[in-house]
């Protein structure tokens, strides 16, 4: 592949050992994928920053890198494995927490921005349409490519690190316009309005699409940031979808030139909806309820505060968000209302990425398809994927009787 003089110097080791190692990885990745050149990137969102994900192997990888150099492009950090301020109070294990903090410190040494969230786009880190970036976190990738119109591949932790050190990524995949055309049309025939509806639709679309690019047609209902966040998380859980289009809504579909007329069409109606909800349909006693996968927006915290005000939950209840959004929530009084009701506002982490609790939960109720999917394997629990207000009423009564 073609390299500029600066890129060649990095590969030759003239810009230091870390840049050499990173450029070698990126050139390998480029050659595998037939890239003709490198692209300059404007931002990196790094996945694989929870110690639960990196293990000692990944921790040592980052610590070694931090001894050799720093980032030249802004790099934000994804969700980590603990609430960095309140880990002792919440009861995260000491050894895990120490290793997590060591990992954070290594990233900080390299110049990382410690956002510690899967929703950097809610906190001011949002690329422009057409901008080349190197993002990890499957839900944020789908959101950045689709809703924001930025261009990124599905970057794993070592690629994100290499991209931030060198400032470039190989030109292949979703960076190229020809790979952003729709492969599959999903014709939405059912009413879709709540966050859970968007999560169910996303989960079905991910199962059906696999690695392909779907375009949604006839998508009614409220297309809010929060709903598209739920859709992005779900579609990248059941599939490897990095990009979707919504006719008349998303940038590639509206201002871009993406070809949105695929040959294949599938319908999404009541049967398909049930196919997903039947998978996550636990009913019975409730011991753990979680909202905030992906991390809650300030609007979602406001809604939860309104639903919980003056009440008392019987089940353990986590509301997960970023440290930036929690600061707003503290200032606006939502955190106090939510915690007075017995729920807890947890920041920096979530049950997908934190260590499993020793409390021996048997169930997790949530409005997130991503959490409902991962929790059974990670936490050995049964899950229900239900509406936000249903999560609240189940937490208040300690029981969940099922829903349509």
């Amino acid at each position: 592949m073609y390299l500029t003089d600066e890129e060649k110097q990095m590969l030759d080791g003239q810009a230091g050992e870390l840049a050499r190692q990173c450029m070698e990885i990126l050139v390998t990745l480029g050659e595998i994928n037939g890239a003709e050149k490198m692209l300059k990137i404007r931002s990196v969102h790094s996945p694989g920053v929870s110690y639960r994900v990196t293990g000692d192997a990944g921790l040592n990888y980052v610590v070694d890198a931090s001894k050799l150099g720093t980032f030249r492009v802004p790099l934000t950090l994804n969700t980590i494995g603990i609430d960095a301020d309140r880990w002792q109070q919440i009861g995260f294990p000491e050894e895990f927490s120490r290793k997590q903090l060591a990992l954070l410190q290594a990233y900080a040494k390299m110049g990382a921005i410690p956002t510690c969230t899967c929703t950097p786009y809610l906190n001011g880190f949002a690329p422009l349409p057409g901008e080349h970036v190197a993002w990890g976190e499957s839900s944020a990738i789908a959101y950045a490519n689709s809703v924001l119109g930025a261009r990124t591949n599905r970057e794993g932790g070592p690629t994100a690190l290499a991209a931030a050190v060198t400032g470039c990524v190989p030109a292949y995949g979703y960076h190229l316009a020809e790979n952003r055309r729709a492969d599959l049309c999903i014709n939405v025939e059912r009413n879709i309005s709540s966050k859970r509806d968007f999560a169910v639709l996303g989960y079905y679309a991910g199962m059906t699409s696999g690695r392909r690019v779907p375009v949604f047609k006839g998508l009614p209902g409220c297309r809010s940031v929060e709903n598209l966040k739920a859709l992005s998380a779900a579609i990248a859980t059941s599939g490897a979808v990095a990009l979707f289009h919504i006719e008349g809504v998303t940038p590639d579909a509206v201002i871009g030139k993406a070809d949105l007329k695929p040959k294949e069409t599938v319908n999404f109606g009541e049967t398909e909806y049930r196919q997903v909800t039947d998978k996550f349909n636990y009913q019975g006693d409730v011991d753990f309820v979680v909202i905030g996968c992906p991390h809650c927006s300030i609007g979602e915290l406001q809604q939860l505060a309104a639903l919980l005000e003056g009440k008392k939950v019987k089940a353990d209840f986590w509301v997960c968000t970023s440290r930036m959004t929690k600061m707003l929530s503290d200032k606006m009084g939502f955190t106090e209302i939510i915690e007075r009701a017995g729920a807890r506002v947890v920041c920096d982490t979530c049950p997908v990425l934190c260590p499993t609790s020793s409390k021996g939960y048997k169930t997790i109720l949530t409005n997130s398809a991503k959490l409902a999917h991962y929790a059974p394997g990670l936490w050995s629990v049964k899950t229900a994927l239900i509406q936000t207000d249903q999560c609240i009423s189940a937490a208040l009564t300690g029981k969940w009787g099922g829903s349509k």
């Binding site: 595998i32 696999g210 999917h373």
Partner: protein, 133 residues
């Protein structure tokens, strides 16, 4: 005695001989595999309860979390990971995990020709898979 030779594309170079563990379903290392034990933990997955240790993992492509790269690296470093990877289409999350874990990998292989338990010679330098009879 006859062997079957399958052609693919070299992704990460290297050569290994081992038993195949095959699934027709996409796999996510993060959330589907316990990195300490190497066992598949995703509920309802075709490979649930199977151990990756010492086997060549054959699956169509990856899905889900981008945490999978370090997870693959960690499971290999812990000595309970696969010894090679064969895909229909390699996902960047797995590719980068295989590069740092130095795991031979090929893709564009017709994996329907391979069954769990088959003895495989994976030559990722040449991009070939030999199913030893």
């Amino acid at each position: 005695m006859s062997s079957k030779m399958l052609n693919g594309r070299s992704v990460v170079k290297g050569k290994v001989e081992a038993e195949a563990l095959v699934t027709a379903e996409p796999l996510s290392f993060m959330g589907s595999v316990n990195p300490k034990t190497g066992y598949v933990i995703e509920r309802g997955h075709e490979l649930e309860g199977q151990c990756l240790k010492g086997r060549i993992l054959v699956f169509p492509t990856a899905k889900g979390s981008t945490g999978g790269s370090y997870m693959l690296y960690d499971v290999v470093k812990n000595g309970v990971g696969p010894t090679g990877i064969i895909n229909i289409e390699a996902d960047p999350v797995v590719v980068i995990g295989a590069i740092v874990a130095k795991l031979p990998a090929v893709d564009q292989v017709d994996i329907s020709q391979i069954k769990t338990g088959d003895r495989l010679v994976l030559d990722a330098d040449a991009g070939t898979v030999e199913v030893v009879d």
